[in-house]
């Protein structure tokens, strides 16, 4: 136990004294977040509308007319669930079609909720569009009847920004980079320079050294996560509501997955020149398609399905749900299981492929 701790400490010292390592693991991801944080992706895209239809069949015509509007993305739900989504910032507006509404009834007025203060354009625009659709519906059912009016009421929502999406993604990315590039490059170099051979004439066991290397990197990873989340909350208005322990659990699981791949690569590569292309082949598709910088929801269906099982997708989605939505263990169980499965695969590969010489 003692020697493993001493080796971990020594590895940590070596890591910290490598300025470029600090640069890549801590400063670079932070810089990406800050730079992207200044880019505002706030143009009005589709209006995310939650519809609560409490009028049953009477509301069906109105609902289908709303769905036909191209600029509106409709989700249906109960009053509680939709208001909760609105609160989380997942909806721009929530329209309530109350019991007793009838297209031809005329007398019933409707209500929509939205964060008028934080999203003035989208809520106003949404209100106007909905009023027009409402008028059309009334007119189609019974021309000349008094029109139903829509009033939009303010509702305070958590106003998520791109940073909230990006930061957990970048965190996942840097966990992947540290695991794969960090381990693969440093072990190939340790092998090539005969440093490992020198260790094997001492009584330490290879396992002791691996444990120390893994422990050191997991420690760095925890520090890195703390710094990123800290800077995010303090300076970038990150809406962090997650459970830190759960974040750490996911981070460590992800770390193990990618460390396993890193050791596998170090096993099959004889030089740094061989590591680089292999590491890129593994990491680049995930960087592009695992929803790090942009949401996977815009990907074509089959690509989205394929990328949903990427380890980086599990990690990014898991971290994001916990950090931003405050998800509990049960809600990120698919991600935890996914990562655990990948971890088993990558560690098995590492054990098979890793060579000391």
């Amino acid at each position: 136990m003692r020697i493993q701790w001493m080796l971990t400490l020594a590895s940590l010292k070596m890591f910290i004294r490598q300025r470029e390592a600090i640069l890549w693991t801590i400063l670079f991801p932070l810089l990406v977040v800050i730079l992207f944080g200044f880019v505002r992706f706030n143009g009005v895209g589709k209006i995310e509308l939650g519809v609560v239809n409490e009028a049953g069949a009477q509301g069906a015509d109105l609902l289908s007319r709303i769905k036909a509007v191209r600029t509106i993305e409709v989700s249906e739900g109960t009053r509680d669930s939709e208001m909760a989504e609105l609160g989380k910032g997942e909806r721009d507006l929530v329209l309530i079609i109350p019991a007793g509404y009838a297209p031809a009834g005329g007398a019933t007025d409707l209500t929509a909720f939205g964060d008028l203060e934080a999203k003035p354009q989208v809520t106003q625009l949404g209100g106007l569009v909905l009023q027009r659709v409402l008028d059309e519906t009334t007119f189609a059912a019974a021309p000349g009847v008094r029109r139903s009016t829509l009033s939009t009421l303010p509702f305070k929502s958590r106003n998520l920004t791109y940073i909230d999406f990006l930061l957990p993604g970048i965190l996942s990315m840097s966990i992947m980079q540290m695991g794969i590039f960090g381990v693969a490059f440093s072990f190939v170099s340790l092998k090539k320079r005969g440093i490992l051979r020198r260790l094997w004439v001492t009584p330490i066991r290879p396992g002791d050294f691996i444990i120390a290397q893994v422990a050191m990197r997991l420690l760095v990873l925890l520090v890195q996560m703390t710094i990123m989340v800290g800077v995010g909350v303090l300076f970038l208005n990150l809406h962090f509501i997650g459970n830190l322990a759960l974040i750490c659990l996911l981070g460590i699981l992800g770390g193990v997955v990618f460390l396993g791949f890193g050791f596998s690569l170090a096993g099959i590569s004889k030089s740094e020149d061989q590591v680089a292309p292999l590491a890129n082949i593994i990491t680049l598709p995930m960087l592009a398609l695992s929803g790090i910088f942009f949401s996977r929801s815009n990907l074509p269906g089959f690509v989205r399905a394929a990328t949903s099982v990427f380890p980086l997708t599990f990690l990014a989605d898991g971290l994001r749900s916990v950090a931003i939505d405050g998800a509990a263990v049960a809600q990120v169980m698919p991600q935890i299981l996914g990562l655990a499965l990948w971890g088993a695969v990558s560690c098995a590969l590492a054990i098979r492929l890793f060579r000391w010489e």
């Binding site: 020697i3 020594a10 005969g194 440093i195 004439v201 009584p203 330490i204």
Partner: protein
């Protein structure tokens, strides 16, 4: 401590193959306590492989090796505790100072070492805060020896420690090796410098193509050759070019 003359290392019929190549082909020798034993031979003779088999770095194909009463093939872990090894062309971690490295290596044996005392042993005290990359060739080799001393080993293995060093640094290293022996250690050294073997070794084994083809103290080998009628073509001069070089440039080592 072992008495002088006790056998501390015994290699019998050692065989090591790499595929179809027989790198070490039935090598036998024994080394006595407090001896400096040299293994000489051209490149590819099997010197390094022989050492690596003894050092537990390579599995042996046939033969037995006993070191300090331990069977190397069966008790590798125990053997590692009592040997000190300087590998040919191996390096140390970057970013740790010499002192930190020695402390870390000591910990690998469960020992708390005094790094400065070890550095004194190889005259590197003033470099205790430097990193290995900042050392010259001779300093690196001396540090390597210091690292091999952390566990107060019974036998030290030095694999071509002076290759690539200038004459001053070589002579300096010889001094270090002699001192280590005088402190009670047994030293097994490989080299392809004959003057070095003659200067340092109590006995040498000459290897070629995986076999030991001669084994005796250096002066006996020379006497035997001369007795057999061998004469150098040119009459021995009273000085060599190396003497000239050292006379001109001095014995002081330059790498500090």
């Amino acid at each position: 401590m072992k008495q002088s003359g006790d056998i501390v290392l015994e290699v019998r019929e050692l065989v090591k193959r790499y595929g179809d190549t027989v790198a070490v082909d039935g090598v036998s020798f024994s080394v006595r306590a407090r001896e400096i034993f040299g293994i000489l031979g051209p490149n590819g003779a099997g010197k390094t492989t022989t050492l690596e088999c003894i050092e537990t770095l390579r599995p042996v194909d046939a033969g037995t090796i006993f070191l300090g009463g331990l069977n190397v093939r069966a008790q590798a872990q125990e053997v590692k505790r009592i040997i000190g090894v300087q590998l040919q062309s191996s390096s140390f971690f970057d970013k740790l100072s010499l002192s930190e490295l020695l402390v870390l290596f000591g910990e690998m044996y469960g020992r708390h070492v005094d790094p400065l005392a070890l550095l004194d042993e190889v005259e590197l005290r003033d470099k205790s805060r430097s990193q290995v990359v900042q050392l010259s060739g001779g300093q690196k080799q001396r540090f390597s020896i210091a690292a091999a001393l952390v566990n107060d080993p019974v036998v030290m293995f030095l694999d071509e420690p002076t290759t690539g060093l200038d004459p001053q640094a070589r002579r300096h290293l010889w001094g270090v090796i002699k001192r280590i022996r005088s402190e009670g250690k047994t030293v097994v050294i490989t080299t392809h410098y004959m003057d070095e073997a003659e200067e340092l070794c109590d006995r040498v084994a000459i290897m070629d193509a995986g076999k030991i083809i001669a084994m005796a103290p250096p002066h006996e080998m020379i006497d035997a050759l001369v007795a057999g009628g061998f004469r150098r073509e040119r009459v021995e001069r009273l000085a060599s070019l190396e003497d000239v070089f050292l006379n001109l440039t001095g014995h002081t080592i330059r790498d500090e």
